[in-house]
Amino acid sequence: MSKYVIRRVVQAIPVLFGITIVVYLILLLAPGGPTARFANNPRVTSEDREAFKKAWGLDQPPLIQYCRWMGLCNPDKGGNVLGVLPPPDAFIGNTGWPQFLPTPISGGTNGVLHGDFGVSIETGEDVGARIGRAALPTFILVGLAFIIWVFIALVIGVNAALRRYSIFDQAATVFAYVGYAMPTFWLGIMLIFTFGGPGLNILPVSGMTNTRASPPFGSDAYWTYFGDHTINALLDIGRHLILPVFTLVVVNIAGDSRFIRASMLEALGQDYVRTAKAKGLPGRVVTFKHALRNALLPVVTNIGLEIPFLFTGAIVTETIFSWPGIGSLTIGATRAFDYPTLMGVLLITSFLVVLANLLADIVYAFVDPRIKY
């Protein structure tokens, strides 16, 4: 078992490394580069652009840029080999140890390996801090939606499997097909029409808090306000949560409920279920103790794989409802050609995917004793 875990962790390393290269390549190949944001600004001369590039280290050869961004190279050591490669002494940190080692040993603080994702070109803030700040609203929104939709999908899926081909099952099938085909952003717009300003005007349709009543979410002033008016603040966030959470739930129930139904049907067809029924166990016990527990095995893996997409999957919903999370951050950074922020977001979300894959595999091997490694 531990051998298997170690092997899977080792296998993940080249993938993680590949991700950094691909993320870097995408943004390196992008025409215009980080100075594209000045393209329509007549006050920025070409000298200014060169100065900007020099200040941000963007005048260096791509490999050196990548090396520094990764934290493999020491940015204090200049020069290059053949105009392409980083010089050998750049790999040595200021303490004499290799630069890629943790900060206390190598003295290096730059780059992804040291937890430094750079500085946002758009706002001048630390990218890690920006992402960290945007992560909280996303986790609140998606976490809540996730719990609700997994619960509802379980109820629908299990009931549909227990009463196969009944009216309920067929209704659930139709719902799943339509839910699967429905674009999230369209559902969001329609909800805004119905419950927001143009329609009933009973629910807020944008943002996370009422900006007239409280300071912007995430600022220090907000937390002071939150401490003073906790109940009001929570109620306010709750009201703002209703529509986006509803959108996410409707769209995501479809796939999961179908998956749970299929898994449950398979479990119900197993011999041990027939045995349990044959020896006269009550229906509830057979359903919940014998069938459901086994049906949940593949469901757990599948849901585990969905977790990183929670981070990215809410991008649509966040845009529609102006939710100040990772999705809005990404859209804003894409609009502004803010390379460091985009690279940070892409990198962190990809790492989460790899991590979730790894965890799902390990958990599956752990909970299913039939699997031998």
Binding site: A181, F309, L342
Partner: protein
Amino acid sequence: MSQHLQSALTEPLVEEVERRAEEAGVDYEVTLESLNQWQLAWRKFKKHRLAIIGLGILGVLITVAIVGPFIMPFEFNSIPKPDKIVPAGRPPSLVHPFGETGGLQRDVLLLVVNGARTSLFVGFSSMAIGVIIGTIVGSVAGFVGGFVDNILMRVVDVMLSLPLLFVILVASRFFGNGNVFLIVVIFGLLSWMGISRLVRSLFLSIREQEFVEAAKAVGVTDRRIIFRHILPNAFSPIVVSASLLIASNIVTEAFVSFLGFGINPIYPTWGNVLSNSLTFLLQGNWWWPFFPGLMIILTVLAVNFVGDGLRDALDPRSRA
């Protein structure tokens, strides 16, 4: 030989039916029709009611996309007279069954018809690019195996770990320039990974089967084995996942255009129409975003139904 085999199998059957008909005293003419693989598949497909409905919807949509713009051309420089403008647009009526937009008073039906062309074009052609790349990569990985396989599959692992929606957004913004063809290429280049994994696994399992071994034993070239023996057998799973790819590409295109990173907003794609409607969201003209969205749902439903039908029809184990 096959002719001989067929008559040996079918002749007793024909005789049996005729004998029984004679015994019962009815005049009964028996002819046997031999169906090839495609006729069998079509017969199974026809039994799938939803798939036929889906095919019908898709047929109508494609016809509308091809013919519609000739009948209802979209003129983006036509501007209504100021006294005709109703800021909130006009709700659906007999003249304008889908209503009129706010602002430039476009007929929503006209926008939807013209949008169908772009949306379906993007969906189908990016699917084609994705399937071609995926099939080539998967075939090479599955047939050559070893080191090449390992490298290609690690590339696929890396690509699948990236949050594709983010990457598509960023790529469309940075490389797309609002150009339909570039968007198609970007979508194609970012949607082949699933197909390549599928094709690889199909190659690995088909490669080991007896008929491939037999072909190898009689000295058939690798190229002929790939194109004549393995790929035709891998055809149906590829078609099914290709159909799902169309649906997801149509939705993604709408989303990317909706955010303003996709196709140039002056062209009426479904995503662009939805996006433009946001400016007038508070005016309450619900018909503006409603109908393009309905079209997306209809298309995706139709494609998924056809995909389901194809899966059943092309599976030789299921019987009609």
